[in-house]
Every structure is written in structure tokens, then in C-alpha cells.
């Protein structure tokens, strides 16, 4: 049960990241390459709240959502004026800068040593100790993330995002504030992925900057591109593949020293192949051209 619980928690954490990026990429058509950094900021915000200030898990999650949203604003306010590859470059630079901040602000973040002893979450008197119990919390997180994605997709705001993605000029002509829509979409996505970071920190009990490097942003992007973007099912499929492939590699008995590299090579090759064979991803609606 513990093994399955662990797999499910990993799936839930990946799913939150993928659904969050889907709001930015799938609905707005913006390539955000700093999702791992915002995920990390959420994790650090929650960890510091719980270990230093002694705040309960629920308040720490609220702070993580706030920090995630604010961090997204920090990058989207200057970068929201541009789109396409320029937006991708801005977010890439933000990703690199955040990791450097996490490494350098040693008094606050512990620097390269990270933060240890992050307490197990308690909610309404129930302790989520162990992978099996934590899976209940992860299921709640999944449900919340899917609900938010579903609510955004059905809302007028979601339709505005799709309109801007499809034809920015037409949306402007109809009086839509493209810049503001992009900034708000990024803030919502940042809040969601920040919450995921808080759950990540409390699950593992230890965080350091290496968990939130640029490679992780590539992994999140891979999930969304592979599963497909512009709907809810694509990111779910992408997260499932992301969790499933390492488990399959484990069955094939690949040496553990090269297994992470082979996993990354498979994902990289999949990205290239998908651009030829199915640019909208396996189950997506937004075609990358």
C-alpha cells in the first residue's frame, strides 16, 4: 500500500504542476519555463512558515498560494507585454534567478543545504503520516486542482483566454485587455503550483534548491506537451506517463546510475517525435506550430 500511495502522491504533485502550466500554455498560449521555480517558492514559503513561524499546515498552504501568485506576477508583469519565444526567454531567466536566490539567501532558505524537519501535515485533527495516509491529502489536492481547471475552462475568463490565444488582434478589437488577462492567468497558475509546492514540502519533509532546477521546468513542460494542452484530460495523461515511465524503467533493470539520464532522453525524444506526429499532444486540443 505504501508503494502505491507513494506513486499516487507523485502523480498528484505532477498533476497539479501540469494543470497549472496548462492554464498558461494551453489556454493563453504562453510558454512558461519557470514553473519549477514557482513550485519551489511555494515549497519554501510553506516550509519556512511551518518550521520557523510554527504555523499550521493550512495557513502555510495559504501563504504558499500567495507567494506563488506574487512570484508569477513578478515575472508576468514585465514579460506580459510580449509572448511567444520572448515570454519563454523571460521565464527561463526568472527560473535561473530564483534558484540562485534560493541558494544565496542562506539565512532564510538554508542555501544549498535546504530546510529539514518540515512537519507532517495535520488537518482537522487528522495526521497525514505515511504515504498511504498522505494519499488522501493528495487526492484532495487533485480534486481541487481539477475543479479549478474545470471552473476556469467553463468561465467567461477561460473563454477570453482562448479567444486571445486564437486571435489576439480580434480579442483586442472586442475590447479585451490582453495584458491583464495574461497577468491574471499567470497569477492563478502560480497560486495553484505554489499550493502544490507546499504539499511537496510537507510530504518529503526536506527541500533544497536542486529539486526546483530548470530541468524540472522542462519535465513539467514535457508532461503538458506530451499529454496535450488546452483541456483537462491532456495534463492528466501527461502526469500519468511521467509517473509511469520511471516505474517501467525499473522493471527493465537499467543501471540506476544512468536510469535518470535514460528517462530524460526518452522524454526529450518524445518531445521531438510529438512535434512531427502529433503536435497537439496525445490528448490535447491546442496544436503547437
Amino acid at each position: 500500500m505504501g508503494y502505491l500511495g507513494n506513486i499516487f502522491v507523485q502523480f498528484a504533485l505532477y498533476l497539479v504542476c501540469a494543470l497549472s502550466l496548462n492554464v498558461v500554455l494551453g489556454y493563453c498560449g504562453l510558454f512558461s519555463m519557470c514553473h519549477a521555480a514557482i513550485y519551489g517558492l511555494g515549497a519554501y514559503a510553506a516550509a519556512i512558515s511551518m518550521t520557523r513561524a510554527g504555523l499550521p499546515f493550512s495557513l502555510a498552504c495559504a501563504i504558499a498560494v500567495l507567494i506563488g501568485g506574487l512570484a508569477s506576477l513578478c515575472v508576468s508583469l514585465p514579460a506580459g507585454r510580449v509572448k511567444g519565444d520572448a515570454f519563454a526567454l523571460c521565464t527561463l531567466a526568472f527560473q535561473v534567478a530564483v534558484v540562485e536566490l534560493l541558494n544565496n539567501l542562506t539565512d532564510l532558505t538554508g542555501g544549498p543545504y535546504g530546510i529539514v524537519g518540515i512537519p507532517v501535515p495535520h488537518l482537522l485533527g487528522f495526521s497525514f503520516h505515511g504515504a498511504t495516509r498522505f494519499a488522501i491529502l493528495a487526492a484532495g489536492l487533485c480534486a481541487l486542482a481539477v475543479y479549478i481547471a474545470w471552473a476556469i475552462a467553463r468561465s467567461a475568463f477561460g473563454r477570453t483566454m482562448l479567444a486571445i490565444r486564437s486571435d489576439e488582434l480580434a480579442a483586442r478589437t472586442l475590447g479585451k485587455n490582453v495584458f491583464m488577462v495574461r497577468v491574471v492567468a499567470c497569477a492563478i497558475a502560480g497560486g495553484v503550483v505554489g499550493l502544490g509546492g507546499a504539499v511537496y514540502a510537507s510530504y518529503f519533509g526536506y527541500i533544497d534548491p536542486t529539486a526546483f532546477l530548470l530541468g524540472e521546468s522542462f519535465v513539467i513542460l514535457t508532461m503538458v506537451v506530451m499529454g496535450g494542452s488546452g483541456n483537462i484530460l491532456g495534463p492528466i495523461l501527461g502526469a500519468a506517463i511521467m509517473v509511469g515511465v520511471p516505474e517501467i524503467l525499473r522493471l527493465v533493470n537499467i543501471p540506476s546510475t544512468v536510469a535518470p539520464n535514460i528517462k530524460q532522453m526518452i522524454f526529450g525524444a518524445s518531445l521531438v517525435c510529438l512535434m512531427f506526429l502529433r503536435p497537439q499532444g496525445l490528448w490535447g486540443r491546442y496544436t503547437l506550430k
Binding site: V82, G84, L92, A93, A97, G215, M275
Partner: protein, 289 residues
């Protein structure tokens, strides 16, 4: 003391400038935001190492073959991946995602083959050209020479040769250039070879200086891309943008510490975005072959 920082800033800026030139050459003409240049950056160093240490080839020959190999890889990406994608009507996001895939595959292949530790090409970084209060290393002089030769050659080529005219035509109005009989495939291949060689020269010098690791290429390529944005319109301007970025990083080290270099890079990018709208940073329309 400050002059030492200036020298090291100029030498780092020369590398960013060379990469920025290669990046701008491909980006301004074909619209590919080529993250895969990170692979080209490390390829020359690894090839040189294998040829000299495993096949015992002479130093100069192995370095030249390393550059040739990296140039070949660069044009191989164009032939094997980008050209077929353009034929399918891809604009910028397809090649961008494919180039991320290229980076993931080949950097992890290098990690699987050579390990994550630094592969050294020899202890040349300590070879001083001048002693006294302002020591200049041979590597720093090589960086400056490569920047001057690379920038001047590209400038003369773009201004004075028929091939350069074709590249400028592709940059300004690709549709008209094709209508007037320009061989699009030939010109794009030449662009990818020239861009890859520029990046490979930077990679090889960097490898001589600090060695090479599988993931060492991404940050310099990102810095080169930011240098291109800082430099502004035009291809050759990227060389000066990269140079300015290197000096800015060095000033950051002088005033604060080396830990804040990448934050300074991000700040430069944010300043560029806030103070002036980047010209032609959006994707350049592609034409089906």
C-alpha cells in the same frame, strides 16, 4: 582591482557575444529559438577530449575536428529536425519544443557517456600571458580574439558577400527572397553551420578554461540569447549585447559577490523589457518549402 574585474567581465562577455551572434544568426533569420545550441556548445569540447585522449590525435587537429563535429551537429539538427518541421508548416513553437527535446536527449546522452563530473581539456586557464598587477591569461586573450574575429568576419560577410546578402534578405523579407530565386534550404543550412561554429568556438574556449560538463551549455546559451535582446535589432548587435552582459556580471561580482551574477542577468533582461519594447522579438513567419 577593478581592472581585473573588467578584464574578466570582457572575457566572459566575449563568449556570450559569440554565442549571441550564433543565436541571433539563426533566430533573426529562421525564427528558431535554438535551446539546442547548448548541445553544440559542449559537443566541440567532448569531441576534442575523445580525439586527443582516446585516439591520441595532435592538439590542433583534435580541436579543429571538434569544431567541425559541432558544426556538423548544428546542420544535422537543421536537416533532420527543423527543415521537416518547417515543411509541415511549423512556425516557432514546434521548433522551440523540438530544440528543448534535442537538449534533453543529447545533454543526457553526454551525461550517460562521460558522467556528470567535469571533463578537463588541460590546465590552460592558469597560463598567464603577462605577469604583474594585471595578469591576463591566454584563454582570456583567445576569448577576445575569437570575439573580434567572429564579429568582424560576420559583419563583413553580411555586408559584402552574396551569401550575406541572402541572409539579410531572409531576415528582412523571406517571402520575397524566395520569389526572387533564393535557395532557401541552402541559405538556412549555411546559417546553421555558421551559427553552430560560432557557438562551438565559444564552447571549446570555455572547455579549455573551466572544462566541460553535460549541462554546461544551457546557461551560456541563455546568456547569449539575453545578450541578443540587450543588443537590440540586428545580428551583429548581439555580439555587443553579450559583451555588455559579461561586464555587467563582472560588476555584480565586484560590488556584491559571484553568487548574484545570474540575478544580474535577469535584472538586465527585465530592464530591457520594461524600458523598451523589444523589436522583432516575435517569431518570424516561416515559409513552406
Amino acid at each position: 582591482m577593478w581592472i581585473q574585474f573588467l578584464i574578466s567581465g570582457v572575457s566572459a562577455g566575449c563568449l556570450y557575444g559569440l554565442i549571441g551572434l550564433g543565436f541571433a544568426l539563426v533566430y533573426r533569420t529562421t525564427g528558431v529559438f535554438h535551446v539546442g545550441y547548448a548541445v553544440v556548445f559542449i559537443a566541440a569540447g567532448y569531441c576534442q577530449h575523445v580525439l586527443e585522449h582516446n585516439l591520441a590525435l595532435p592538439h590542433f587537429l583534435s580541436s579543429s575536428l571538434g569544431l567541425l563535429f559541432a558544426g556538423g551537429i548544428g546542420v544535422g539538427f537543421e536537416w533532420g529536425i527543423f527543415r521537416p518541421l518547417w515543411r509541415r508548416g511549423s512556425t516557432w513553437s514546434g521548433p522551440f519544443v523540438a530544440s528543448i527535446g534535442i537538449y534533453m536527449v543529447f545533454s543526457n546522452l553526454a551525461a550517460a557517456l562521460f558522467g556528470n563530473t567535469i571533463t578537463s581539456l588541460g590546465n590552460t586557464s592558469t597560463a598567464f600571458l603577462s605577469s604583474g598587477q594585471i595578469p591576463v591569461t591566454k584563454v582570456q586573450l583567445a576569448e577576445l580574439a575569437a570575439w573580434v574575429i567572429g564579429t568582424a568576419t560576420l559583419y563583413i560577410m553580411l555586408k559584402s558577400t552574396r551569401g550575406g546578402l541572402g541572409i539579410r534578405a531572409l531576415q528582412d523579407n523571406p517571402g520575397l527572397a524566395v520569389v526572387l530565386g533564393m535557395d532557401l534550404n541552402h541559405t538556412r543550412s549555411a546559417i546553421f553551420v555558421a551559427g553552430s561554429v560560432l557557438v562551438a568556438v565559444a564552447g571549446l574556449i570555455s572547455a579549455y578554461d573551466i572544462g566541460v560538463t553535460p549541462y554546461a551549455g544551457l546557461f551560456p546559451v541563455l546568456a547569449g540569447a539575453i545578450g541578443m535582446m540587450v543588443g537590440g535589432e540586428g545580428i551583429v548587435a548581439a555580439a555587443f549585447g553579450g559583451l555588455m552582459l559579461g561586464v555587467l556580471q563582472s560588476l555584480t561580482v565586484m560590488i556584491w559577490s559571484s553568487s548574484w551574477q545570474q540575478v544580474a542577468t535577469f535584472a538586465a533582461l527585465a530592464a530591457v523589457l520594461l524600458l523598451r519594447r523589444p523589436v522583432r522579438l516575435q517569431s518570424i513567419p516561416q515559409h513552406r518549402d
